[in-house]
């Protein structure tokens, strides 16, 4: 029987949640026995090869590319999990949500005290994904089945969740594994 498939991605995140996935230490050997990785930065597969059992989303949606990738994950994954505070509430990137986008860009590329930008222009290449007006949590863009909070979620939280879901058990995290920091 084919092994269940797992896919992961980092949208507007810092890859800290992926570091936490790696932080399951030697259990990663067990994980490799349990599952195959599909699209993920871990194996560098860029596009889905087919349907996937579990998708792990790190980061919120800050630009149109994030939205496209997230929708692609929803389409391919039976179970979709928000991993970490950025996917759940926007996290640090969402601190810009209280400031108009134009002001953010002007501060970053024109007016900031350490800005060196002789062109005097805000980057606007077609190759650069268009920024959204604000950073959106994943569950405000597509349906998310489970949330694993934390910045990042402890490796044990990710492990417990994967093992439970791979064994078709209910995800019931103990008190000490739900943390927002």
């Amino acid at each position: 029987m084919a092994k269940p498939k797992v896919a992961t991605t980092s949208l507007c995140g810092c890859f800290g949640c992926h570091m936490s996935i790696l932080d399951i230490d030697d259990r990663i050997l067990k994980l490799v026995e349990l599952v195959d990785f599909d699209k993920s930065p871990i194996d560098d597969i860029k596009e889905f090869t087919g349907p996937v059992d579990i998708g792990l989303i790190e980061g919120g949606c800050a630009n149109e590319e994030n939205v496209r990738v997230l929708q692609d994950f929803r389409k391919h994954c039976k179970i979709l999990i928000s991993v970490g505070d950025c996917a759940i509430n926007g996290g640090i990137p969402a601190m810009r949500n209280m400031i108009p986008l134009k002001e953010c860009l002007e501060e970053a590329y024109l007016n900031g005290p350490t800005v060196h930008n002789p062109s005097g222009k805000i980057p606007n290449d077609v190759e650069i994904p268009l920024l959204l007006n604000k950073v959106y949590p994943a569950h405000e863009v597509v349906k998310i089945d489970y949330h694993l909070p934390g910045c990042p979620p402890p490796a044990d939280t990710i492990w417990e969740a994967l093992v439970a879901l791979l064994n078709n058990k209910q995800l019931d995290l103990p008190y000490e594994l739900i943390k927002y920091d």
Partner: protein, 237 residues
Amino acid sequence: MSDTITLTIDGKEITAKRGQTILQAADAAGIYIPRLCAHDDLSAHGSCRVCTVMVNGRPQAACTQSVADGMIVENESDQIRNIRRNLIDMLFVEGNHFCMFCEKSGNCELQALAYRFGITAPKYPYLYPQRELDASHPDIFIDRNRCILCGRCVRASRDVDGKTVFEFVGRGAEKRVAVNAEATLRDTKIALTDKAVDVCPVGAIIIKRVGYKVPVGQRLYDHEPIGSNIEKGAKKG
């Protein structure tokens, strides 16, 4: 007429003193009723509604409702749990609660309640409101992004410190805690030792330069849910 009365909470008969609130009677009986605006050393406010219980079939705030003989109180039903969970969810989405860098994380009563209720994400959309931060005072700052309008600082400053440094202004979504001064917090009589500084359940009123002093794993709510001390029958701190 006897001073002692009996009532039931979730079918368990407890004794209480006449004049006590349901919250006080439950605390004394080792039954935890979640609360945010209520504080042992302050007058009841009844504003956060997290302590909502069913009293003889009607929702009431346990912190303001007095006990009565034969009263039937529901504290742990699915219906009550749902009401409280929704209230906690709303408090999270209507402010800007960035737990990952907040000095209060691990010691925050709002966060601890969310942990106790097993909330992994709120069910309402985030509002990301624009809120003001006042860091003018040399030792204390107010971050209104984290304020839940419980009014503990308002009551503590007025009733315990005798200074009335804080007061509510505005209505509805515009409501906020203002300082009693010409301009900012530094122009008030607030002091580090004030009760008003001590009672904030969240990270809205923070003492500068002491953040993150307690390591992760040793903070108030790292291992045991909020209310555990009451459930163990210990005097709460």
